[in-house]
C-alpha cells in the first residue's frame, strides 16, 4: 500500500489521458515567478496553492489557498514553504490552475478481492458525503475491463446524458486503464469538473494509492510512497525503513508519542496482538515494532537501540510467538547487543524489560538474554510455557 502525492498522481493521469488542470510542483518560490514568465496559464488563470506533503487536514491548517493570481500565489508559496507542522516541514507546494467550471462530479475506483469497483456520481465536490445515495457502482472483475460503450451506459445510469455521458464514459475507461496498468489500489477524483463552454474536463483533486510491491515493473515510478500514518515519518522511522529495504526478512517501527510501554516484538501477527494486549490492559504503547523473517542480528540490534531511545518509557516488551524459522538465538543476540549499547549511552534507566519467546534455538537465546540480569538490567525472561501476551499483564501489574 502506498499513497502517492497529487503531483505524481497527476503525472500518471496525464500518461493515461485523464484530463488534469495545468500544474507545477515547486520547492523554491522564485522558481514560480520564472515559471510565470514562461507559462501563460500561470499569468492568466486563477490559481490554487497547496502544500505538497502527506499532511492530513491541510485546509484547516491554512495549507490550501484558493483563487490567487500569480503574485499572490508566489506570496502564498513563500509563506508555506519551510513552515513547520508538528514534526514535519513543508518542502514543496503544488500550484494548479483553478479551472472555472459549471459542475462537479465524483469518480473513484477501489480495488477489491475480485477486481475493482468504480463509483460515479454527478453530484461531486465537498458535499459528496451528503449525496452518497447518488453514487452508482460498477464491479469490474480482474482482467475483464469493460468497453467504452458499457461505461457510457454506466454514466447514463449515474444520471449523465448526451455528450457529457459519452465524455464521462471515456474518462472512466481511461481511469480503469490507469488503475489496471499502474498497479493502483484506489484512485479518488473529487471533484471531476466540467466547463461547458468548451466542454473541458479536469480532475481537480486526486488521491491515489499504488501497490508499491509492484515497483519492479514500473520503470517510470520516480516517487516514493508517502507516510500513511497521518503524519510524515520521523527520522528514526526513516532509518529503520532504510534498513528494512536492505535486509532479508524485515524490521518495522512506528512511533506513538506519549506512550509508556515500548514494543520490541516479533512477527506481523503477534506484534499486533501485543499492542492490543497493552491497550486492553489500560496501558499506552510508545511505538509499534516488528522484526520477522529471520532478519540479520545487526538489523535487530538497530531496531532495539531505536526502541530503547524512545522517551519516557517504563517497560519494553520483547515478545513473540513460537517462531517457525526465525532463529531466536541469533535475533536475541542483536537485542542483547542493542540493550548493552543503549545502557552505555544512558538509556534504560528505570525501564523494566519483559521477554517471552519460542522457536529455533530458543533455549540458547533465552539463556543468553537472561544473563543480562547479572549486568544490572531489570529483565524478566519467560519461555513458551508463559502464554504469549501474559508478559504484558505482568508488566502492567508490576
Amino acid at each position: 500500500m502506498a499513497k502517492i502525492l497529487e503531483g505524481p498522481a497527476m503525472k500518471l493521469f496525464n500518461k493515461w489521458g485523464i484530463p488534469v488542470p495545468n500544474y507545477v510542483v515547486i520547492m523554491d518560490p522564485n522558481r514560480l515567478e520564472q515559471l510565470g514568465e514562461a507559462n501563460k496559464w500561470l499569468r492568466e488563470s486563477k490559481l490554487v496553492v497547496k502544500a505538497h506533503e502527506a499532511i492530513g487536514g491541510r485546509f484547516k491548517l491554512g495549507l490550501v489557498k484558493l483563487g490567487l493570481n500569480l503574485e499572490e500565489a508566489v506570496a502564498a508559496s513563500r509563506e508555506m514553504i519551510g513552515r513547520e507542522i508538528g514534526t514535519a516541514v513543508i518542502r514543496q507546494v503544488i500550484v494548479a490552475e483553478m479551472l472555472e467550471h459549471d459542475e462537479e462530479y465524483y469518480l473513484c475506483i477501489n480495488g477489491n478481492r475480485d477486481g475493482a469497483e468504480v463509483l460515479l456520481s454527478n453530484r461531486g465536490g465537498v458535499d459528496i458525503e451528503e449525496n452518497w445515495d447518488t453514487v452508482r457502482r460498477l464491479f469490474i472483475p480482474i482482467d475483464e475491463n469493460p468497453s467504452v460503450e458499457r461505461l457510457t451506459e454506466f454514466a447514463g445510469e449515474a444520471g449523465f446524458t448526451g455528450e457529457i455521458a459519452e465524455r464521462v464514459g471515456k474518462i472512466v475507461s481511461r481511469l480503469v486503464l490507469c488503475f489496471d496498468n499502474e498497479d493502483a489500489q484506489s484512485i479518488e477524483i473529487n471533484p471531476l469538473v466540467i466547463r461547458k463552454s468548451d466542454m473541458r474536463f479536469a480532475a481537480l483533486d486526486a488521491v491515489m494509492n499504488v501497490d508499491y510491491d509492484a515497483r519492479f515493473r514500473h520503470a517510470d515510478w520516480d516517487f516514493k510512497p508517502v507516510s500513511e500514518i497521518g503524519r510524515p515519518f520521523t527520522e528514526a522511522e526513516l532509518q529503520i525503513m532504510e534498513i528494512d529495504a536492505r535486509i532479508k526478512g524485515s524490521v518495522k517501527f512506528v512511533e506513538v508519542p506519549g506512550g509508556e510501554v515500548a514494543l520490541l516484538t516479533a512477527g506481523g501477527g503477534a506484534s499486533v496482538f501485543y499492542s492490543d494486549a497493552v491497550v486492553a490492559r489500560g496501558g499506552t504503547i510508545a511505538n509499534y515494532a516488528e522484526y520477522s523473517g529471520d532478519p540479520s542480528d545487526w538489523a535487530v540490534e538497530a531496531l532495539t537501540e531505536t526502541v530503547c531511545a524512545l522517551p519516557n518509557i517504563k517497560h519494553i516488551i520483547v515478545g513473540g510467538a513460537i517462531a517457525n524459522f526465525t532463529d531466536v538465538k541469533a535475533t536475541f543476540n542483536g537485542i542483547i547487543n542493542g540493550f548493552r549499547e543503549s545502557k552505555s549511552k544512558g538509556y534504560l534507566e528505570n525501564v523494566k524489560i519483559w521477554v517471552r519467546r519460542g522457536g529455533p534455538n530458543e533455549n540458547q537465546g533465552l539463556a543468553a538474554i537472561r544473563k543480562l540480569q547479572d549486568e544490572g538490567f531489570d529483565i524478566h525472561v519467560y519461555d513458551r510455557s508463559m502464554p504469549m501476551t501474559d508478559i504484558v499483564d505482568l508488566a502492567l501489574n508490576s
Binding site: 500500500m1 492530513g56 480495488g111 477489491n112 478481492r113 475480485d114 477486481g115 472483475p141 480482474i142 482482467d143 489496471d180 498497479d183 489500489q185 501497490d211 510491491d213 509492484a214 519492479f216 515493473r217 500513511e228 500514518i229 497521518g230 503524519r231 518495522k252 512506528v254 506513538v256 516479533a266 512477527g267 506481523g268 501477527g269 503477534a270 506484534s271 499486533v272 496482538f273 499492542s275 492490543d276 494486549a277 497493552v278 491497550v279 486492553a280 504503547i285 509499534y288 516488528e290 520477522s292 523473517g293 513473540g320 510467538a321 513460537i322 517457525n324 524459522f325 526465525t326 522457536g359 529455533p360 534455538n361 513458551r384 502464554p387 504469549m388 501476551t389 501474559d390 504484558v392 499483564d393
Partner: protein, 610 residues
C-alpha cells in the same frame, strides 16, 4: 484425516536456497512420522541437473533439480502439490504454470511482497481450474502425522512439543505464520492437538480464505473444532461469521482477532500485515469482526491471552459429549530423535573417531594461526622474522639470533641465479606462453631435481653420514660413496672450479666460520672432502648445494627439510621472472631451427597399415 495435505501428498518446490531449506525441514517431519520423502523435485533453472542432498533422518536422499515444471512433472508423475519459493517478480509466472499443470491440485506460495494484482489473478485462475492457491506470504500447511508443507512448525523439537506426530481434533487457520505455530502449540497444550493448520498469509487479497478451509474442515470428520486467528482489515473474518451463521455446523469455531489497539491510536495509524488496514467508517475493524463472529456463535476471547481458555473449554465440552474419545498418549520417548552429526556426538564424548591426519606444527582452530603453539601476531609483535617462522614450521624450533641470520643469508643468496638456469628458464617460457603465475612458477619448480638445485638434501645427508661413519677417513668415505651412491652430491660444478671459485660458496663459508660461533662439523668435513676431490679434478669443488646442505645440517635442520631452502628461495626468483616477463608483455617464444640438431630419419613414404 486431515485437509489439504496427507500421506499421499508429493511436492515440487519451485525456487532456490529458501526452497531447499524448507525441503530439509519437511524431510525432518517425514522422518518423524515415518513417511517417504514428500519433496520429489525442485524447479530452479540456474541449478538444472544438480541433485540436492536431503537427510530423512539418517538416510541421505538426492532430490533432482529441473529447469522446468513440465520436465519435473513428466519425470515425477506422483507430484500433486507445488510450493512457490521464488522472488516476487517471478512468483506469478511460476504459480500460474503450476496451477495450470493438470496433476497439481494445490499451490502454496511463501513469497512475500507479491503485487496484489498478481495474487488476484492467481486466485481467479485457480478458481476457474478447480485448484487451490494458498498464499502469498504463507508459511505453509501442517497436517499432523501426515504431511508438512513449508517450514510451518519450526524446528524438530517443536514438532514433538506440539504433538504434530499424530493428529488431534482441532483445525487451525491463521493469516500470520508465527501465530499458526503458536496456535498449534495452544491446541496441544489445552486440547489434543491439530488435524491440519493452514496459514493463508497476511496479504490484502489472499488466494484462499477462512471459509475455503472451514468448508473443508466441516467435511473432515476428525476435525471437531477450528481455531481461527484473524486481524483487522478486509472482510474474510466477517465472511467466516456469515458462513457459521448460515446453517447448523458440525464444527465448533473459536476465533481471535488482532487489531483492537487501533481504536485508541491516532487516526490513520495502521500497522501489521499488508492486509491489516481498517477501511473507512470502521469497515473491517477488529471489534466489528469480533462482534460478528460472536453473534454467529463462535467463541471469541477479548484478547489473544484468552485463547487458551477457550480451546480448553471447547476441548472439555467435546470430551464430555463424546465427540472426542480420549486416546492414550504416545510415549514421547518412543518417538525418533533426529540423528546427530558426528561433531555433536563427539562433543558429548560418546563416540571415538580415528583422525585422518595428524599435525604437529600448526593449529588453525583459534582466532588466528599458531605455529608450534606461538600465535603468529605475537611473533610479529616481538620482532621475529620469516626465518623464525620457517624454523618453527620446518624444525619446530625457534632459532637464535645468530642462526636466524645464517638462514636469512642462505635464502638471500639462493633467491635467484639469472634467467638461464633451468628453473628460471622454465618459468620464463611459461610466462611467455601466457600462462598464469602459479602454473608458470611450478613449471620452473618441476626442474628442481638431482641436476638442478635438488642436491641439498642428499649433500647434507651423505656428509652427515661421513662425519658419523668415517670421521677421520675421507678416503674411506669417498670409496663408500663410489660403491654405494656414485658421485658425491654437493661436489662438482659445470663452470666453476678452484681457479674460478663460486663467490656464493666463499661468502657463506667465510660468514659462518668467521662471523658466527656456529659449531660446523659437517661443513668442515665437506671442505676436507673438497681438498681431496679437487686434487683429482679442478671442478670437483664444494658447490652451493653442498655448502648449504652442510650448514643446515650443522644448524640441526631435519634432513627432509633441506631441499626446501632452495625451493623456497628460488620461488622468490621465479615469481620475479614471471612478473618481469608479463609486465614487459613478452611474446611466445620457441627454439630456432639452428639451435636444434635434427638427428632424424630422411623423409620417406608411410607404408600401408598391416
Amino acid at each position: 484425516m486431515s485437509i489439504l495435505a496427507s500421506r499421499d501428498t508429493r511436492v515440487v518446490i519451485i525456487g532456490g536456497v529458501a526452497g531447499l531449506n524448507a525441503a530439509r525441514r519437511m524431510a525432518q517431519f517425514d522422518f518423524l512420522v515415518n513417511r517417504p520423502l514428500s519433496v520429489q523435485a525442485f524447479v530452479y533453472p540456474p541449478e538444472e541437473g544438480q541433485q540436492k542432498e536431503i537427510y530423512r533422518g539418517g538416510e541421505l536422499k538426492n532430490v533432482p533439480v529441473y529447469s522446468s515444471l513440465e520436465e519435473a512433472l513428466a519425470e515425477n508423475p506422483g507430484i500433486n502439490t507445488a510450493l512457490i519459493y521464488i522472488g516476487a517478480n517471478r512468483a506469478y509466472t511460476a504459480a500460474k504454470e503450476a496451477i495450470e499443470a493438470g496433476s497439481i491440485k494445490l499451490v502454496s506460495m511463501i513469497t512475500e511482497g507479491v503485487p496484489e494484482k498478481d495474487a488476484k489473478r492467481l486466485r481467479k485462475l485457480a478458481n476457474a481450474k478447480g485448484k487451490l492457491f494458498n498464499g502469498p506470504s504463507s508459511i505453509g500447511i501442517m497436517s499432523a502425522g501426515e504431511c508438512r508443507l513449508g517450514v510451518i512448525g519450526g524446528e524438530f523439537k517443536n514438532l514433538k512439543l506440539c504433538n504434530l506426530y499424530r493428529p488431534g481434533s482441532f483445525g487451525v487457520i491463521t493469516k500470520s505464520g508465527g501465530l499458526s505455530n503458536e496456535a498449534m502449540w495452544l491446541c496441544a497444550q489445552n486440547g489434543n492437538g491439530v488435524t491440519t493448520a493452514v496459514a493463508i498469509g497476511g496479504d490484502a487479497y489472499p488466494g484462499t480464505d477462512f471459509v475455503t478451509y472451514l468448508e473443508m474442515f466441516e467435511k473432515d470428520p476428525d476435525t471437531k473444532a477450528v481455531v481461527i486467528v484473524g486481524e483487522v482489515g478486509g472482510t474474510l473474518e466477517d465472511e467466516a461469521a456469515e458462513w457459521l451463521a448460515a446453517e447448523k455446523r458440525r464444527i465448533r469455531l473459536i476465533a481471535t482477532i488482532g487489531g483492537t489497539c487501533q481504536e485508541v491510536l491516532p487516526q490513520g495509524m495502521k500497522f501489521g500485515h499488508a492486509g491489516a488496514k481498517e477501511g473507512k467508517k470502521g469497515v473491517g475493524s477488529a471489534r466489528a469482526k469480533m462482534n460478528a463472529l460472536r453473534d454467529a456463535g463462535a467463541l471469541v476471547p477479548d484478547t489473544f491471552g484468552g485463547l487458551s481458555k477457550c480451546i480448553k473449554q471447547v476441548y472439555e465440552e467435546l470430551l464430555a459429549d463424546g465427540s472426542i474419545k480420549p486416546e492414550p498418549e504416545i510415549d514421547e520417548a518412543l518417538l525418533p530423535e533426529l540423528p546427530l552429526k558426528v561433531q555433536e556426538i563427539m562433543k558429548q564424548g560418546e563416540v571415538i573417531v580415528e583422525p585422518l591426519i595428524r599435525t604437529t606444527i600448526s593449529d588453525d582452530r583459534g582466532e588466528e594461526p599458531r605455529y608450534v603453539g606461538y600465535a603468529a601476531s605475537e611473533l610479529c609483535e616481538k620482532g621475529y622474522g620469516i626465518e623464525d617462522v620457517l624454523s618453527l614450521l620446518w624444525s619446530k624450533k625457534l632459532p637464535s639470533r645468530e642462526e636466524s641470520e645464517i638462514i636469512k643469508r642462505i635464502i638471500m643468496i639462493s633467491a635467484d641465479h639469472g634467467p638461464a638456469v633451468s628453473g628460471a628458464f622454465g618459468a620464463i617460457i611459461g610466462a611467455c606462453a601466457g600462462i598464469d603465475l602459479p602454473q608458470a612458477v611450478s613449471a620452473g619448480m618441476t626442474m628442481i631435481g638431482p641436476r638442478f638445485g635438488g642436491a641439498v638434501t642428499n649433500a647434507g645427508k651423505y656428509f652427515k653420514y661421513g662425519v658419523k661413519e668415517y670421521p677421520n677417513d675421507i678416503a674411506g668415505f669417498l670409496s663408500w660413496m663410489k660403491q654405494n651412491v656414485g658421485p658425491v652430491p654437493g661436489i662438482g660444478h659445470r663452470v666453476k672450479s678452484v681457479k674460478n671459485p663460486d663467490k656464493r660458496v666463499k661468502y657463506l663459508v667465510d660468514y659462518v666460520k668467521n662471523h658466527t660461533s656456529l659449531h660446523t662439523p659437517c661443513l668442515d668435513y665437506a671442505l676436507e672432502v673438497e681438498k681431496i676431490t679437487t686434487s683429482k679434478k679442478d671442478n670437483l669443488i664444494l658447490n652451493v648445494d653442498g655448502t648449504i646442505g652442510c650448514i643446515l645440517v650443522d644448524l640441526d635442520f631435519p634432513e627432509q627439510s633441506l631441499n626446501g631452502f632452495f625451493v623456497l628461495a628460488r620461488t622468490i626468483g621465479m615469481i620475479g621472472h614471471w612478473i618481469d616477463q608479463t609486465t614487459q608483455g613478452s611474446k611466445l617464444i620457441r627454439l630456432y631451427d639452428y639451435l636444434i640438431n635434427y638427428a632424424v630419419k630422411e623423409e620417406r613414404e608411410v607404408p600401408e597399415k598391416k
